[in-house]
Symmetry: C2
Subunit: 340 residues, 2 copies
DNA sequence: GTGAAAGCGCTAACAT
DNA sequence: ATGTTAGCGCTTTCAC
């Protein structure tokens, strides 16, 4: 618990010199530095970050806000962020903000603003104009992942294109009766991801001349979870006469749930039912799920990278949205529909 | 970005009064308080936590160290911790520490000690004597989850009992050829979890008079992941003549991987092969996996609870290990072995 | 190359 | 009930 002055006294120098020796900034003779470093080691000295922050104004800590911790996509982005941050010597302070607007305000006003963080990474959170302005006013770099936020650099995939891509893939295999198991349209996440995915799905069908739209019963709303996909699929697949030959799942969790349901119903996957996911999770690999490569870890690392520039004294961020390239990762779970 | 003095000036009071009005500590007349609060709102004032920490010595921030973020059990504990912490008005700073000892030292010396946190929650990390002493010296409450650490309160399940439990369950159904798909014995996590689970497994077999031990080929080492379980099972189940009638998986990830492999090999689960997991993840539910109820979220919340006492000025923690009760959650995936 | 001194923004005695 | 004062532990001019 030693303080700088103790270290200084022990080394026989002034606080100023001790500080310089330890931080590496400014001129200190090698011999003095050695003495100071030794004294510090003897005392088990560790600088108080609060004191340092107070005077420098920086905390070496970045705040990460996200609505989910354990959903696959989010967890992987988080891992990417975490790794890159620790690498750069920054702390990561995690804030989960859900639907609760009050809670969200509290996180912003009370935590993020309390000079606790140097920068903010928002994963799947559509920051409001005010939130962005506030952060900018405070000189804090912000980057978003998962959707465009005006005024800050963001990285996202094209959610419309993504379902269009997988749907086209199924269409090209000959599937015509395809159902989208996606998010409830009334309970959108930020960035209206559910809506966009449904849009891409239907755009592909329409372009192929396949009947689509609410009347076509080609969409079933489900929670974005394995259990959600499972239960939705149990109902959807129960009746052999109305059963689709393929499912476009809104995310990998739903896809795995659907596949599990199908197998339990004795439906062969992929022989009798093809399922495609979106997020490209490790599990997708095992299930042979065709998904969309979207590099969550890399997105996380890239976000940190983007933020480190300005923090390191570089030029401010260029507030451009960046589209993360996506492509199909085709595995064995998609096959042509069974002959009728 | 206003400071307390600006708020004070605007409200026509002293810094001290402004501080009292805002923090709620000490006597302030209602009218003065109102004026101060209004002034603060006008200025968009937010207290500097660095300054407050410097003088009070507390940060309202707790450090969470864990080796994994996305492994199911750890992610759920983390969610429990996160929820309880935010509830109590604390920040959560996340540190992942893997096998790298240097990295681990760095986290401890450089981050945790830098007066950045008021308390530490260690999930699945066996803190060393020195680490614990250091934390105690600094007056920081520490609690562990996942294994006993001398000198601090910990919550853990009984890893030996857990595999014994599930194994006995399989034995009681009549299974005799059972294989444990568990962690590599040379690459233990902290707390030797892999070893303990193998031990419990073999103890149950031995007690039932079933041949066990290395010679009995009743253990296959695999990474603690879905992919790990999958690949191990693909090999294990390939030959119908040596195929077991049941598998005790070291964790739910392995179990799901094994089930998936079995299904792909055309083996009926649970008719021809019973699989039991350990962690009781959401996915286990869907797969009908029999697992051990161990309440990860509750463990996380309890850890926070335990830490909040001392932080709130209460008596210090009683450094007793606490055994989290576990029980079997039997689902449909375990059945008697198929008749030969 | 090193030291003296000022001050970051706040809280906590202590006095009034 | 409110104001005055003294730091918390560090970094950073500015002299020397």
């Amino acid at each position: 618990m030693g303080s700088l002055s103790e270290v200084a006294r022990r080394a026989g120098v002034s606080k100023a010199t001790a500080s310089r020796a330890l931080s590496g900034a400014g001129y200190v003779s090698d011999t003095t530095r050695a003495r100071v470093v030794e004294a510090a080691a003897d005392l088990g000295y560790v600088a108080s970050s609060a004191a340092a922050s107070l005077v420098t104004g920086s905390t070496r800590n970045v705040g990460v806000v996200t609505p989910y911790i354990s959903r696959w996509f989010f967890a992987e982005v988080l891992e990417g962020v975490e790794g890159a941050l620790i690498e750069a010597g920054y702390d990561l302070t995690l804030y989960r903000i859900g639907d609760d607007a009050t809670q969200r305000r509290r996180v912003f006003d009370y935590f993020l603003m309390r000079k606790r963080v140097d920068a903010v990474i928002a994963i799947g959170v559509a920051l409001s104009r005010e939130e962005v302005d506030l952060l900018h006013l405070l000189g804090k770099p912000v980057v978003g992942i998962g959707g465009d936020v005006p005024g800050i650099p963001t990285m996202r995939i094209d959610d419309v294109a993504v379902t269009r891509l997988v749907t086209e893939h199924l269409l090209s295999l000959g599937h015509r009766r395809i159902v989208h198991l996606g998010g409830e349209q009334d309970e959108q996440m930020d960035f209206r991801v559910h809506g966009k995915r449904l849009e891409g799905f239907r755009a592909a069908l329409a372009a192929a001349g396949v009947p689509t739209g609410d009347a076509a019963d080609d969409f079933v709303a489900t929670p974005f979870s394995v259990a959600g996909g499972y239960h939705a699929a149990i109902h959807l697949l129960a009746d052999p006469r109305t059963r689709p030959s393929a499912i476009v799942a809104g995310c990998d969790e739903i896809a795995i749930g659907a596949i599990t349901a199908a197998r339990q119903l004795g439906i062969q996957v992929p022989a009798q039912l093809s399922v495609v996911g979106i997020d490209d999770h490790e599990l997708a690999e095992i299930f042979g799920l065709t998904t969309v490569r979207q590099s969550p870890r890399e997105q996380g690392a890239a976000a940190v990278e983007a933020i480190l520039g300005p923090l390191g004294g570089g030029r401010p961020l260029d507030a451009r949205p960046r589209l993360i390239p996506t492509s199909l990762r085709v595995r064995t779970s998609t096959t042509a529909p069974a002959a009728e």
